[in-house]
């Protein structure tokens, strides 16, 4: 039996349980969802300009998008090294952000507004996807604890690329589900194109393609359709690579290739990257030290993992994917997220949203379909929501000290505009002074007057700095320090040039 058939029959069986209560009518459920969505938007917009403090990537994307507004795809250029565009991420998000800035204003707060808007659209699409797969009642039941998960609320208030990436991924899955339900080659092709858009919007979005491959393995049908999907996705990705190569690989300056390879090497662990988790122990320590408010989210996530593993065990015992078929898409989405990001050497906090959303959706749809009493089915997600939202509320004051903003303000007020500063990427993007990166400070060896170091639980300028940076720091005098939950920035006056 096909997955869709299983799902639809399952849904119909649920519908046959008796006369549908008034509040269970589809339009009522849709209206309830609209109210939930409003509440979701409100909780994400609450104190958005104040908390959380600016995150590392936000400053970088803000600076590049502002430069895009002025016609250059670049960060704040480094002193003493050849100019290069910013191609570590595909340019689409930055183009979109620049357009948003044109329309509404160019600050990190405005970037966050775009992220929240995107997430609201994402939830609307997720609701539609769940509706298609499991029916409106399960869709509403499952989406509420996801929308009000503490970690997701927190991370979605930051202007990460993932906020928009998720919109594309969910849109692609919706198209894919549509193709599964009414198979035709052009529906699969469209889904393939949408999946490829996710991969070229941010490289990590390629995990959605893997999810579809796994789903194909589970549902085992529409083989030609899936091949068309893969072909379309491959064609779009190839067109993107060729176009980017033509536009941004100049003779002797292969910017696109070099920067893309850097990202690939970072993912494969061949090149180190600051600020990423390297071990489960570090994750636990990080949770305890910096993210202790999100214990409820962790517990729900772990429960989802246990449920998924149990499902996998059922499949193994049955020597068939049939137990996973009713929830094939969500199971595949979650599994590909866990496996791919688990093996990737890059583990940034925002990546967890790409795993947690499918995990939560899988968990709560399984709970909705479980043979539990109504009281339990209401109580369990309600407890999760209350604990999550309560913990999130604590983060608003706790994460409001804006280290990066204070550092930028101090630099603007107290460091001469022509004084060269050696610092880290994000701070370099927030200041107006000429700057060199700590990772290669040699060009500023004889000119640097100040250094601004950065230290978090996961990274430190002193461990990642180049030998030239350490040379510069000899005899440096600490001037000012700003310490918040995100990290500690310290302004140093350098002894002088090294001569």
């Amino acid at each position: 039996m096909s997955a869709t058939a299983v799902v639809r029959s399952d849904q119909r069986a649920a519908d046959r349980g008796g006369p549908v209560a008034g509040w269970q009518r589809p339009w009522v459920l849709a209206a309830l969802f609209a109210l939930v969505l409003l509440a979701a938007a409100a909780v994400r917009l609450w104190q958005l300009g104040r908390s959380p403090a600016w995150q590392w990537d936000e400053a970088v994307y803000w600076n590049v998008a502002v430069n895009v507004q002025h016609g250059a795809l670049t960060e704040h250029p480094l002193s003493g090294v050849a100019w290069q565009p910013f191609l570590y991420q595909p340019p689409f998000y930055l183009l979109m952000l620049a357009g948003w800035f044109d329309a509404f204003g160019a600050t990190i707060y405005h970037a966050r507004l775009m992220g929240v808007t995107s997430i609201m659209l994402t939830f609307a699409l997720i609701f539609r996807l769940l509706w298609k797969v499991h029916g409106p009642k399960v869709a509403l039941f499952a989406i509420i604890p996801v929308i009000f998960d503490g970690w997701l609320i927190y991370i979605q208030r930051v202007s990460y690329i993932e906020n928009v990436l998720l919109l594309i991924i969910v849109g692609a899955f919706l198209l894919y589900q549509r193709a599964l339900e009414k198979p035709s080659w052009h529906r699969f092709a469209l889904a393939g194109i949408a999946l490829a858009l996710a991969a070229i919007f941010k490289q990590t979005g390629a995990y959605a393609l893997v999810a579809v491959l796994l789903c194909w393995l589970i549902v085992r049908r529409a083989h030609k359709g899936h091949l068309v999907l893969l072909g379309a996705a491959f064609a779009v990705i190839l067109a993107y690579i060729v176009a980017m190569h033509r536009m941004y690989d100049l003779p002797g300056r292969p910017w696109f290739t070099n920067q893309s390879l850097v990202q690939l090497r970072r993912v494969l662990g061949l090149q180190q990257s600051g600020g990423t988790l390297t071990s489960p122990g570090a994750l636990i320590h990080l949770l305890e030290a910096q993210y202790r408010y999100f214990v409820p989210s962790v517990l729900v996530g772990l429960t989802a993992l246990v449920v998924a593993l149990r499902k996998l065990g059922q499949c193994y015992r049955a020597r068939s994917w049939e137990p996973a078929q009713p929830n094939a898409l969500l199971f595949s989405w979650m599994a590909s997220g866990v496996v791919i990001f688990g093996f990737s050497s890059l583990k940034f906090p925002q990546y967890f949203a790409l795993i947690l959303i499918p995990s939560y959706l899988f968990l709560w749809t399984e709970v909705a379909r479980a043979d539990w009493s109504r009281a339990w089915k209401t109580a369990v997600p309600a407890v999760a929501v209350v604990a999550s939202v309560g913990c999130f509320a604590l983060t608003v004051p706790a994460y409001s000290y804006n280290t990066l903003a204070k550092t930028a303000e101090y630099t603007a007020a107290h460091i001469p505009p022509n004084a060269t500063v050696v610092t880290e990427q994000s701070i370099g993007d927030l200041i107006n002074q000429p700057w060199c990166t700590v990772k290669f400070a040699a060009p500023c060896l004889h000119t640097a007057k100040y250094a601004i170091t950065w230290r978090t639980y996961l990274q430190s300028s002193f461990t990642e700095g180049h030998a030239s940076f350490h040379e510069l720091m000899k005899g440096a005098v600490r001037v000012k320090s700003f310490s918040g939950p995100v990290g500690t920035a310290t302004v140093w006056k350098l002894k002088g040039t090294s001569s």
Binding site: V68, G71, A72, L73, G80, V81, A82, W83, P85, P91, W185, H186, A189, L190, I193, A232, A235, V236, A239, Y240, V242, A243, R246, M247, Y248, L250, G252, R253, T278, F440, A442, P443, L445, A467, S468, H470, E471, K474, S498, S499
Partner: protein, 364 residues
Amino acid sequence: MKRLIVPVIAAGLLAVACGHPLIPKAALTAPPKPTVTPTPALTSIPLKPYTVQKPVLGVDLYSTNNYSAATTALYATRNLTYIKTVLHANAVGILWNLYAPSRTSNVVQAKKSSLTAANVDIVAKIAKSMGLKVQFRPLIFVPSHPVNPWEGLIVPPDPKKWFKNYFSTLYPYIKVAQKEHINEFVTATEMHMLNNSPLWKPFFKRVGKTYHGVVSYAAFWGDYVPPKGHLEPVRLFGMDMYKALNLKYNAPLAHVVSVWESVFHGVPAAVLKRTQLDEEGIAARRGAYKRPPNLGTPGIKDEQVQANWFTSACRTVVKYHMRGVYFFKVNLADNTLHPTDALSVFEGRKGARAIAACAKLFKL
């Protein structure tokens, strides 16, 4: 089908044909002008023919002081015997200190504590009489920076003057090298900040006019491996492998070896077979894999760490058909029968046995 394919192809073509959006014109037209020479390729010079030979198993004999001729001969005989008979090495690197007054000085000089050229000659003679291959490798120290006196941070304001002074200081030793027909003169070690200087080429040429053996240079590991590596214009290369490896102290040998080998991924085979590991040292200490150059850091003694590091070096040499390896170090004044407890020492430890085992690995 056509309805979908046509727009996709059209979009692709449009993107391909739209020039270089969001790149300032100046960046398109002006050639890149970095103040630091970019080094995309390891070396731009054509490599001269080289036939792979049996690898050299060397040990550095390091003199931090100068002694009378008689004492030098006594110490050298004692420790070269140890190097040859206990460690089964077939080569010795003779190391001594030269000094720079500061990192930004144009001066490099021999001091009273520098082993004189005459004493270097004595050590070289004894080594040759024992049938050992001989390498000279002077080190430069910056004593005004006691925390990190590393020569890699020397940035002379007048590099021309610096190279001239350095050659003058080195000249007596170069003459000894030629007189004794030693096998190799490693003219400098890990001059990281000067690594990209164009003045190395004339410097090597000048050394080669007096000394006709192998003139080489021991690169800081970061200046050797891609993507930032840039090799000096010499026929045969050298490097000091002190890269921090993210390994636990109890990592099995096979794991240490594979991580070691991975350091050289991306280095062309033609470069590898011309390369010698000129200095391999590590403390017999837990955690030393993560900071191999910190030989003096105190900690918990763990001889296996040192032994695994040394074995990994030898296996890497074999795997990549490299020229050889020199282990750092036996001090000239050491009494190898009663070695000190310092963690940097390998005498009398598993590290020494690992070096001796390399002789078998190299089929010496």
